[in-house]
């Protein structure tokens, strides 16, 4: 048992394998394992359980370094409406995550408007409209093939006029390697900047799929360059993937994880909590 198991090379190998298996970046893992050995020596740890505790604390520290606390709540605008822009590569869970956020805000008594700014993908507008109907929130659309930036513009104007508390903008999935699509995203962002007197959206949220490996780092880097990501939504954590790559992303890009997706229903979203997340890495 961990209580009496001694500390040996096999233990370190198992822990390293657990980290890599959780999709932590290999260089982050090497550094964490090196620091772990130092700390085990410095703290005179005796058992395997001691070592695991030290490692778990180190991982939690990596997740919250530079933050004010353990939670990273969504920013709110001092003057309504609060505007959120949701971005990410194809199929990661943007539209569904927006439905979940809308559900949560509606349950709390707020008025929500959704911008159906994915004007490209087949039935993308239909998909978010169905969510709007189910949740009882307004969805502002343009025609399919229309300019996404103008849909966002319309949605913000509509939200102001209707006294809505939140506008959440859905965008088409796009690979960060497609320059024209990243330019389109910057254009959407410029519309938001203009509509809010020079300020960006209150949150620009990058949705990452927990099953994604090292490419998530490149996604975060490129999206951050294009539209200064303020937070990450880590979706599909109800699967077997652990999403450990976000530790590297937080560490290197300083972008906080704000929310996690744990299923396909509107209720399946939680605030990101580092201790629970780290615990999940070792389960």
């Amino acid at each position: 048992t961990g209580k009496s198991r001694k500390i040996d090379e096999q233990l370190y190998e198992e822990l390293e394998e657990a980290l890599i298996g959780a999709d932590l970046n290999i260089h982050t893992t090497i550094r964490i394992m090196r620091d772990l050995r130092d700390q085990v020596r410095d703290q005179d740890a005796r058992t395997a359980d001691d070592v695991k505790d030290i490692l778990r604390n180190a991982l939690v520290e990596a997740m919250v370094a530079g933050d004010e606390g353990y939670f990273s709540p969504l920013k709110q605008s001092p003057t309504a409406p609060t505007v959120y822009l949701v971005v990410g590569v194809n199929g990661v869970g943007k539209t569904t995550s927006i439905a979940k956020m809308a559900y949560r805000f509606k349950e709390a008594g707020h008025k929500v408007v959704l911008a159906a700014a994915d004007t490209f993908r087949a039935a993308a507008i239909d998909q978010i409209q169905i969510w709007g109907d189910r949740l009882g929130v307004t969805v502002v659309c343009g025609k399919e093939g229309s300019d996404p930036a103008s849909v966002v513009f319309d949605a913000i104007r509509h939200a102001r006029a209707a006294g809505a508390d939140y506008v959440i903008c859905d965008t088409a999935g796009r690979l960060h390697t497609k320059q024209n699509l990243m330019e389109e995203l910057k254009k959407i962002n410029r519309v938001i900047l203009r509509e809010r007197g020079g300020g960006p959206a209150d949150e620009t949220l990058l949705v990452l799929d927990a099953t994604t490996g090292q490419n998530a780092i490149l996604q975060a880097q490129e999206f951050k360059k294009a539209v200064d990501i303020s937070g990450i939504i880590l979706a599909k954590l109800d699967g077997t993937a652990r999403g450990g790559i976000v530790i590297t992303i937080k560490d290197e890009l300083k972008v906080p994880i704000k929310l996690i997706g744990t299923g396909e229903k509107p209720e399946d979203m939680e605030a990101f909590e580092p201790h629970t997340f780290v615990k999940g890495i070792f389960e």
Partner: protein, 294 residues
């Protein structure tokens, strides 16, 4: 790139007849890092490195090659061999007596609906007569999405709406196809987790009911370490016939491909390289090997 890293690591080692253990260890350390950065599964990497180490240590350095180049040559050959193998197996298998039934399965958002359309376009080019079947009754507007895709590839979509058991929809579609001259039935299913017993059961029931010619696991090329468990889950439940790796137009290294081949030992039939209906390519092991190595 890996070859640049190795060249600089070995810049001062002269070529000397055979690859020493020391040279091989040093080189394989870099290769191991490269493979992990490429999302190849940890265990698969270990096994692969052990194989290469065995083959490389003591092997003759070919005339005109630096030691580093020799190691890379061996790594590349081993990787290509692992990824490739039987050329015939990578082709789509058609039923001796129509209709050919293709079932697409996979995790949420991997690209099933999109690739159902691409496959329809692909077989139409071969002069076949496909029909698409809408068996995702859960995701909002999934049926509408497949219908729009169907229009794009001039292929009819069989649907019974979203209130009917997907297994019944699949059965009726196959029965109808047989009487209406449709010789390829492409079934789009809902995304699901391989650990969702109820939904995996649904697929098992569908397989038993329609006896597909091909069950293809559609997997995102940017999948990380879990590719092995996902593939295992679907393979254990359904004995899939092969894979379609999607979103290869990204800059993901695609190490999941090696994990799939090593663990599930089923062929990668196609790769998806874009959102349009013509963005479907055959899988090339040699190109994949150099992409994974970086």
């Amino acid at each position: 790139s890996l070859s640049e890293k190795l060249q600089s690591a070995f810049a001062r080692l002269g070529g000397r007849g055979v690859l020493s253990e020391e040279v091989v260890d040093k080189a394989l350390h870099e290769v191991q890092l490269a493979l992990l950065e490429a999302d190849v599964n940890y265990r698969v990497v270990k096994g692969f490195i052990a194989r290469v180490r065995e083959r490389a240590t003591g092997s003759d350095i070919l005339k005109g090659l630096e030691p580093a180049q020799q190691v890379i040559k061996i790594v590349d050959e081993e990787l290509t061999a692992l990824l490739g193998g039987d050329d015939e197996a990578t082709k789509l298998v058609f039923a001796p007596k129509p209709p050919t039934i293709i079932m697409l399965v996979g995790l949420q958002g991997s690209g099933k609906t999109t690739h159902a359309g691409k496959l329809a376009a692909f077989v139409r080019k071969q002069g076949r007569n496909p029909i698409l079947v809408a068996c995702d009754v859960y995701r909002p507007a999934a049926i509408k999405q497949l219908e729009i895709v169907g229009e794009q590839v001039k292929t009819p979509v069989f649907t019974k709406g979203d209130q009917i058991d997907p297994v019944d929809i699949a059965q009726e579609a196959v029965a109808e196809a047989s009487t209406s001259g449709r010789d390829v039935v492409i079934i789009d299913t809902a995304g699901r987790l391989q650990i969702d017993d109820a939904l995996m059961d649904e697929l098992k029931r569908m397989k038993a009911a329609v006896k597909p010619t091909q069950i293809l696991l559609v997997l995102d090329a940017m999948t990380g370490q879990e590719a092995v468990n996902v593939a295992k889950g679907f393979t254990d439940s359904l004995d899939v016939d092969g894979f379609i790796l999607t979103k290869f137009d990204s800059d993901t290294r695609g190490g999941a491909a090696l994990s799939l081949k090593t663990i599930a030992n089923k062929p990668i039939k196609f790769i998806g390289v874009g959102e349009k209906m013509d963005a479907l390519e055959a899988f090339h092991p040699d190109r994949m090997a150099s992409r994974i190595l970086g």
